[in-house]
């Protein structure tokens, strides 16, 4: 976001000043640097790899020898990914389940926590800290925690419940076992974002709603929620991005196999590692890009709209 904003502001400034005064050499230099460096960074770190991935996805490059050894094979990779690569559709499904879980369970729960904690409860700070604590843990760490509490023989869950469930090895439940902890972290994240929004909200709005006799749920639905629209957008985007970039936790648990396949994992398995099927992995990456672009477009569109309004 910062890199995108920088050149835009710089150009605005240049236009405005350009009408009034001529730019000195120093100004020009400064402007060139301010526009140029972010441009190079965005181009080199975002657009070049993206376009390279798209091009490579139509080749069979194995990563050995120069790119010149790659052969153009058209949409063959895409065809194979969709037809004969068994982990692909489960991975798509798991990404969607991930997204649905975060959207329908974890995010609303985060909102609920924020709303409750905004009510000046005694010990609100302590609760906030407790719920926010998992957010400071990386998913890699949470992956290790997952293994400790779900281990079939020595794990906490089976120990407490007295069950013998194979939480992580059984592909019909391991995704849900992992999602519980993902939700645990995600809810805290959403809570903090929303709490910030609630704190900034004009309290008179809520008072007015109360005076008009609106119940709590009614007031939330018709007054609080709509007035926090910008925050809501951020939360939607954060939720979608979290769902699509999910990787670390399942990689730590079982390298993202056997019920925990995700698109990001398949990209990694094919490209990194000894396999080195760069073209094939790129095709999966492009599919992930296409899926990701939708929420990104929504986000960018919204932020532009806000700037125009402002």
């Amino acid at each position: 976001m910062a890199t995108e904003a920088a050149p835009r502001l710089a150009t605005d400034g240049a236009q405005r000043r350009g009408r009034a005064v001529r730019l000195s050499t120093r100004d020009k230099l400064a402007l060139t640097l301010m526009v140029g460096i972010p441009l190079v960074l965005v181009g080199g770190l975002i657009w070049f790899p993206t376009i390279a991935s798209i091009l490579l996805s139509f080749t069979n490059w194995d990563g050995i020898g120069g790119v010149t050894t790659a052969h153009w094979i058209g949409t063959e990779n895409y065809h194979q990914v969709a037809t004969i690569y068994p982990p692909f559709w489960p991975a798509v499904e798991h990404n969607l389940i991930w997204l649905a879980f975060l959207t329908l369970v974890a995010t609303p729960f985060g909102l609920f926590l924020a709303y409750q904690l905004d009510k000046q409860l005694r010990g609100s700070r302590i609760y906030q800290s407790i719920f926010f604590l998992p957010v400071v843990l990386s998913f890699a760490i949470i992956g290790f925690i997952v293994q400790l509490i779900y281990s079939p023989t020595q794990g906490l869950v089976n120990g407490v419940l007295g069950t013998h469930t194979d939480w992580l090895g059984d592909p019909s439940i391991n995704l849900w076992a992992v999602l519980v902890l993902v939700g645990w972290r995600h809810a805290g994240y959403i809570m903090i974002l929303y709490l910030a929004g609630l704190k900034a909200m004009d309290p008179s709005l809520r008072e007015a709603a109360a005076i008009d006799g609106a119940g709590e749920w009614h007031a939330f639905r018709t007054v609080v929620f709509p007035s926090l629209w910008p925050i809501n957008i951020v939360i939607v985007v954060v939720t979608v991005i979290e769902a699509l970039r999910a990787f670390d936790i399942v990689y730590i648990v079982n390298k993202g196999r056997n019920g925990l396949e995700l698109l990001s994992i398949l990209v990694t398995n094919n490209i990194i590692g000894e396999a080195s099927r760069i073209g094939y992995g790129s095709a999966i990456a492009v599919i992930l890009i296409v899926i990701s672009i939708v929420p990104i477009v929504v986000f960018v569109w919204n932020s532009f709209r806000e700037t125009e309004q402002a």
Binding site: I84, G169, R257, A275
Partner: protein
Amino acid sequence: MSDPSPPATERREVGNPTLSRRGLFAGGLAGAAALYGLTAGGAAARSLSPALRGALAAGTVSFGSNGSDPVPKKAYANVFKAFTKKTGIGVKVNTVDHNTFQEQINTYLQGQPQDVFTWFAGYRMQFFASKGLLSPLDDVWAPLKSQFASAYQNASKGADGHYYFVPIYAYPWAVHYRKSVWKQHGYTVPKTWDQFVALAKKMQADGLTPIAFTDKDGWPAMGTFDIINMRMNGYDFHVRLMAGKARWDSPQVKRVFNTWREILPYTSDGALGLTWQEGAQQLANKEAGMYMLGTFVGQQFTGAVQKDIDFFAYPMINPKWGQDSIDAPIDGFCMARKGSNSKEAKALLSYLGSAAAENIYLASDPNDVGANRNANKSRYTPLQKKSALLIAKTKHIAQYLDRDTRPDFASTVMIPALQQFLNKPDDVNGLVSSIQKQKVAIFGS
């Protein structure tokens, strides 16, 4: 990636190991003359020819090691100490976490690899040799030939017939068990598949998990597939299958999965959630009766348990083949083409192939057996002796599924496929046709 060694925690050591300090300084000087000295040290050093780089680093050889666990790390350190003492050539070791090393091998060999590095025999070496990333070692092998059995020699050759690999040790895959448990219940070593299944049934009745089995790591199940395949269809079929020449949806492969299905009810519950170390614990704790794994499983046992462990070769299934093949992966060393290719590097490789080096190595890591014919067997533990005997008397030595086939096929197709089989053992037809389609996509035929 899927190599049967315990995970480790060491991280890549800092510093560029291909360049000695002297080399870096010289590179920096050359760069300063050419390019204002701005960050040119690295660039200039990279632009030097390998030979020149080797000359700059005269007197040392760099070594890339995947031996990140304490046992092999110490064993290698001892070997290099002896090498330096003998030849005056220093060895700069760069140790990388075992699994990370394998996963990065592609970029490693194309970047600035160490002169000599740890690797595996068989197709997994031939693949990189055919891509031109390894240097041939025929001159190193000339004096070594008489010291290695032909199985080791063949496993060290590339597809072009040149040597690319120097072996140091091997470890057979066999069925491990605790002698005390077997004595207590009066079990005897099964010779045939029927006896094996009957024994498993009996163990289950005795309240044991008959066969400890784990596949969370993805590779251990390959061992069972390999051995049933070789027992039923013979070594040659294994080779053709791994090379992409035989069909995966053939009746032979279906038979392997169907036979494997017979023993699945006798294996550990939740195998897909268990690591191989947890399987070893089941055996150590007397919960399980048997455990099919490489002899490296011994690293998990200590004291009385260690002495109580024994193993037997996988039972015969088809009398035509008897017990004539096993997996006994060979570990050893290659020389990176992008390394210095110096005479010091070759001196190190010659030494690593010698019986002297193996003796030092095995003294610190007694879970393997020496590859060199002249390795000192008198100090072997009883199990080491048994391993050596098993390898010696077995006609065909295979390297293991993920070493006998293309790395991309093993990791992106076979690991998920075997896990799928363990989840849904009934859909063998669907499974093998899926493997076959992916095989065609990867091998191109």
